[in-house]
């Protein structure tokens, strides 16, 4: 089962340095957060989608489409019903301004999530880890982060094995309402946690036997460095962000 979003392709975005992609991710968040105008936010979302097209990452939109749709619809409904300060009454508490605010908030959240998806679709876990180290995150922290990422599918797989074992012993996980079903999962969580934690001592010994922690500086098989395309993308990203800040501060658009 492939839980991760990474798509193994060779595109201009895939070849960017992970540090560049982290900065671009951050710039997209800053741009999205600055506005509540649905038209500007749509333009920002369109830029992010174009970036995703360049990275051939939009195939993953299918995998997260339910999350994106739910977020947009919930934002629209919740903000339409609760927004105060609108003057154009439509139906009951719903105003045109509330609907537009709901639409804008939905687009904002979706834009940030798509930006995150493009980052994860075009960046390997090893590159994320190495990028963190190059950005002066201590190696041990980056190691813990990348190890945790690798462990998630293994832990999910272990829990499925435990579920099958308990189901074969008569545990019925499919019947009942959501609360009773959650309650039935509790006895499955303990063996999952214990089977993972049990390996701590052996894992630590294996790491130390290979020199983990011997030196603060560590050489890597994978090497990353900034290239011409990185500077081009960084310049574009930073200029766009500065442009958005200028528009917002001067008050041309909200």
């Amino acid at each position: 089962m492939d839980m991760f979003l990474y798509l193994d392709k060779n595109t201009i975005v895939h070849r960017l340095d992970p540090r560049t992609k982290v900065i671009l991710l951050f710039c997209s968040f800053v741009m999205a957060l600055m506005f509540t105008n649905p038209y500007i936010l749509s333009a920002i979302a369109a830029i992010i989608v174009i970036y995703g097209v360049m990275g051939k990452s939009l195939a993953n939109l299918k995998r997260i489409r339910m999350i994106l749709i739910m977020i947009f619809l919930l934002s629209l409904v919740l903000w339409s019903l609760s927004y105060k300060g609108g003057s154009t009454q439509l139906l009951g508490p719903i105003t045109l301004e509330g609907i537009l605010f709901g639409v804008a908030t939905g687009i904002k959240f979706d834009a940030m999530i798509i930006s995150g998806m493009v980052f994860l679709s075009s960046t390997k876990m090893e590159e994320i880890s190495l990028g963190l180290v190059k950005m002066k995150v201590p190696y041990r922290g980056a190691f813990a982060f990348s190890t945790a990422l690798r462990l998630v599918p293994m832990i999910v797989s272990t829990s499925y094995t435990i579920i099958q074992a308990q189901s074969s012993r008569g545990l019925d996980l499919k019947s009942g309402n959501i609360f009773s079903r959650i309650k039935k999962y509790i006895p499955l969580v303990i063996p999952t946690i214990l089977s993972v934690i049990r390996n701590t001592n052996v894992f630590a010994m294996a790491l130390e036997s290979k020199g983990f922690g011997y030196s603060e500086e560590r050489s890597n098989y994978l090497n990353i460095y900034l290239k011409k395309n990185d500077y081009v993308f960084l310049s574009l990203g930073v200029l766009l962000t500065i442009g958005c800040i200028f528009i917002r501060v001067v008050g041309i658009v909200n």
């Binding site: 919740l78 945790a148 462990l151 293994m154 999910v156 303990i190 946690i193 993972v196 934690i197």
Partner: protein, 259 residues
């Protein structure tokens, strides 16, 4: 607070960070689709884990909760709020274990009325600390009103951490103790909590900061037109930002005083 950074020199603690993060993320991800606040939070039975990891593994549990939450965000809700989610979930595990030791409790053997009551109290305070920081940050960004997020996260974290966390820690403690994996058995003596009057004062400052930041923040937000458990009202209320900010900083000051 020194142990939060010095723990990284112990390989076992680094491994525990990775394992706790992996477990937390693995339990968060299946429930990402059951959204409570779009793009921010969802139904979280996994909220039982930070307090358990914090009490058993100390700072490794806190870092694990933070990293695990971030990894969980990779699966559908990675956004600007993730930065505050990282720190908030760190506090969710950090506050319980600091208070547990500062008020004279040694190992996390949650047996007996006194220990159970203390567990419930620190579970509530840990949940509130997490809610305070995240609601403050997301309100500052103008995404979701403080009153909505503060109340929802407090409830969403408190219920699983008490209902599910209590049986978990009772069952896990004997085995973790037997395997010499309690954080107090791994770190150096100089990194162990020392207790004493200064630690208790730090504990009281931490508790006061959490209660002030969240409750006063909620009262101010409600006065400013926001509503609990609802999206009514606008985010970016300056008074709320100041109050919640003071509370958040107070938690860190209280933590630094607790040795």
């Amino acid at each position: 607070m020194k142990e939060v950074f010095s723990m990284w020199k112990h390989t076992k603690m680094v491994v525990l960070v990775a394992l706790c993060a992996g477990l937390y993320a693995a339990l968060l991800i299946p429930f990402k689709a059951i959204v409570v606040i779009p793009g921010i939070t969802e139904v979280r039975p996994a909220s039982a884990l930070p307090i358990v990891f914090g009490l058993l593994f100390g700072p490794a549990g806190a870092w694990g909760a933070a990293i695990g939450n971030l990894i969980g965000d990779f699966f559908g809700s990675l956004g600007a709020g993730s930065i505050f989610g990282f720190v908030g979930n760190f506090l969710f595990a950090y506050v319980p274990y600091k208070l547990w030791h500062s008020f004279g409790f040694k190992e996390p053997k949650v047996i007996g009325k006194k220990n159970v009551i203390m567990f419930i109290l620190i579970a509530i305070l840990g949940s509130m600390a997490c809610a305070l920081f995240i609601a403050w940050g997301v309100d500052l960004l103008g995404l979701v009103p403080f009153a909505a997020l503060g109340s929802i996260i407090t409830a969403n974290n408190t219920i699983p951490s008490i209902v599910l966390g209590l049986p978990l820690i009772i069952l896990l403690y004997p085995r973790v103790k037997k395997w010499d994996l309690l954080w107090t058995d791994i770190v150096d003596e100089s990194e162990l909590p020392q207790g004493g009057a200064k630690s208790r004062i730090g504990g009281y400052i931490m508790i006061a900061s959490i209660l002030f930041g969240l409750i006063a923040g909620l009262v101010t937000a409600l006065g400013g037109g926001q509503e609990m458990f609802s999206f009514a009202g606008e985010a970016k209320n300056m008074m709320v930002a100041v109050i919640a900010g003071i509370g958040s900083i107070g938690i860190l000051i209280g933590g630094a005083m607790q040795k």
